[in-house]
Symmetry: C4
Subunit: 241 residues, 4 copies
């Protein structure tokens, strides 16, 4: 039987062929991220939309080693993050993926843990986010046509309460409708795209730019906090306030 | 003959199938660490428990190049670090592996030499250890459920007297029963786990966090010693005092 | 049919065999650059001369992912950057490749986006370029026979107007006839060579030296601007003035 | 015909089997160094002793790309650096390899160009060398049994006059009979070993320790020159004086 075309608005029941294709693509992306050091130690989780209405996602199972990630380590979840069938436990952050898939109409959501995103999410937490501008690489973000674009990458406080964190994510997505990603403090990057190829491109672009930013500050050898002229870090709380 | 199940409390004689399976897994881990630059120049050694009572370990032979590590380069040693049979010379640090396997009831013990662990083990020596907190990645450590966890990574003075060093290791394991690893000064990281998969995850998590910490201090461009407000480095001797 | 010899001055019509061979070589180079992190997120573009008179280039199609770049993702363009046939859209920077191929009689032109070239193109923008001297690695640049050579790597302001940028590139190539490459600010490196092997060698050499330079300044922990003794950065505008 | 045993003191004519085996091993080492970024842009050259009396070496041909280095790209040279037969041009630094093979009775000599060795060879030039001590990794150097060992890595001024440079190398090898390697300023690392495996281990150990040293200074954010308490850099000329 030939693989059916991907039909994201279908009302039909979830199609195994679509799920399998998405899971295979996500698994390949996850292994590539692992090899770059962006998903060590079972960190990172990845999802793609199988059906839009009602929403169903293919998502990594919880606690999986990404060095050898396979399509068989993905689950299908519904719009509440519940797994379909008795397949195991989805990633703890499934609700964040669902919020993003909805708010941005994303076809794929990718979450990585790199050294530079972790570092900068701490250092810039007091400023509530990171501005990226002046880089040609920004043009690889969907809808951006000039290096003069100003990309705001919000930083959210981290939390182990997934309902709370999901609410914060929805709020930040609403407040910054043009942002292509956000950071969780001490935790890493979330980005997304219309499909997996676009989401993966966004991971590479944002990780690249965060490395450039981190190394620039390192090279200039000044404490980060001072650069923005905010002497009172106590008054500048991390978002959300 | 099918590979027998792993039976860590068996009183039977060492089982070649168990040994071979553990050695193959350790060899694969060692090659992966080498390719990340964590076991260059014959550095690093790796072990796993073949039998718990009496204790027997599979451990790397001394001075082996990790780029092409094979199962055939592992020896079996008893609870005193003596090789069973005439197989060659075990790693000089075999006694440390035995101490850890006992004190933590670990199924696998891994020792890596990364640039960042070497660097930080020198820079933080005067403080006796490194505190890691606020990072989501900490949740990958066994038994940790929040990024607010405070992981203390003790730093021990290095020594070429393995009986002395083994004693220090036992003491530090007793004093810090919740620590998931420790550093030897100028030497590298020891960590462990219930089995090889868990120990390997701990290597990746701790190496990741040490890189984040080292780059954070570098970016902030302040001498490390000052950050903790300890003006008198003479009074703060490396552990053990 | 055996592959015909490459004949760069031929007046014959473009030869499919020559094009295919060049495209395959460029694709291999592109994948290698991607794996080093020099062409992430669809960045980077690569070309080679198929015929000199009238000028025809093999060049990457626009927006292609370099991780899996294939010969089939190259187009043939004429001296105005127009694709021959209905093959799709060439890289937006095709005109720069044409300017370089003409001004330097280059057989191959390579454009990479590394972290260090991006960083340094911003930091040294006010000085109009970067001087590289004292490194043995310089001898790998065509025509250089001593580490005492002074290589000037001009930095051009970035622009989305390709006719404007093409004009600046021609001007900087004329002004610095001995330079082996240049940087676009916030954008990356352009270099070239008589053939693909030479151009690729120039990429590796210049990227290596930029990393050395960036890390040297980082290690010395002084703001870059001060090192050259130019107190008045306002007076030293980025080229072209 | 089975491959004959390696007989380094044989007076027989050069044996093709020995040469081929050494060239294959050197080629594999060269490709591995390239992939770590230690031999980019045709930099680096590698040799091994085919016969001790009269001295004959297998050595890389000049200007070869190390990414795809093969045994066929090695030449055999005599004690004056002259190629045997009409095989092409040996590496320009052949005389240095001969000096080292003689002075240290080395079976293999390896020269790499890493970012960190290049950087530190410039920064520490005024001190004439780099002291490495306190690192367990030092024990991987032949004859070293404790991390308290003090390894002195001399730094020589670079020169394009190979007879002059060869003389300096002989002098520095005599003056520092226990050193396991040296740096050429702005140029990279030379090390050696009884055989290729030992020489390769020395490359990995010294490159590792140079990276640790470079990152330590970077993290501590002080200009290098000040750390050693030498205020008068003019008076401290690079060796040889």
């Amino acid at each position: 039987m030939p693989k059916p075309p991907r039909n994201r608005r279908s009302n039909q029941s979830p199609d195994a062929g679509v799920f399998d294709g998405l899971a295979a693509g996500l698994a390949e992306a996850g292994r590539a991220f692992y090899s770059r050091g962006w998903a060590l130690g079972t960190s990172g989780n990845f999802s793609a939309v199988v059906e839009r209405e009602p929403l169903r996602l293919a998502i990594t199972a919880s606690g999986v080693d990404k060095s050898s990630l396979t399509a068989g380590q993905f689950l299908q979840i519904n719009h509440e993050g519940k797994p379909l069938g008795s397949q195991g436990k989805p990633s703890a952050e499934a609700l964040l993926h669902i919020s993003i898939a909805r708010a941005r109409r994303a076809g794929a959501v990718l979450h990585t843990h790199s050294v530079w995103s972790t570092l900068l999410s701490q250092t810039f937490a007091a400023e509530g986010g990171i501005e990226l501008t002046g880089y040609e690489m920004l043009k690889g973000l969907e809808g951006v046509s000039t290096h003069e674009h100003r990309e705001w990458l919000p930083i959210l406080e981290n939390s182990q309460d997934m309902r709370q964190l999901g609410g914060w994510v929805e709020a930040v997505l609403n407040r910054h409708p043009r942002s292509h990603g956000f950071l969780l403090r001490g935790h890493g990057l979330y980005t997304w795209g219309r499909d997996l190829a676009e989401a993966r491109r966004h991971v590479e672009i944002l990780e690249f730019l965060l490395e450039v930013l981190g190394r620039t500050h390192t090279a200039e050898a000044r404490p980060f906090g001072r650069r923005r002229g905010r002497p009172d870090l106590e008054a500048a709380k991390p978002w959300p306030r």
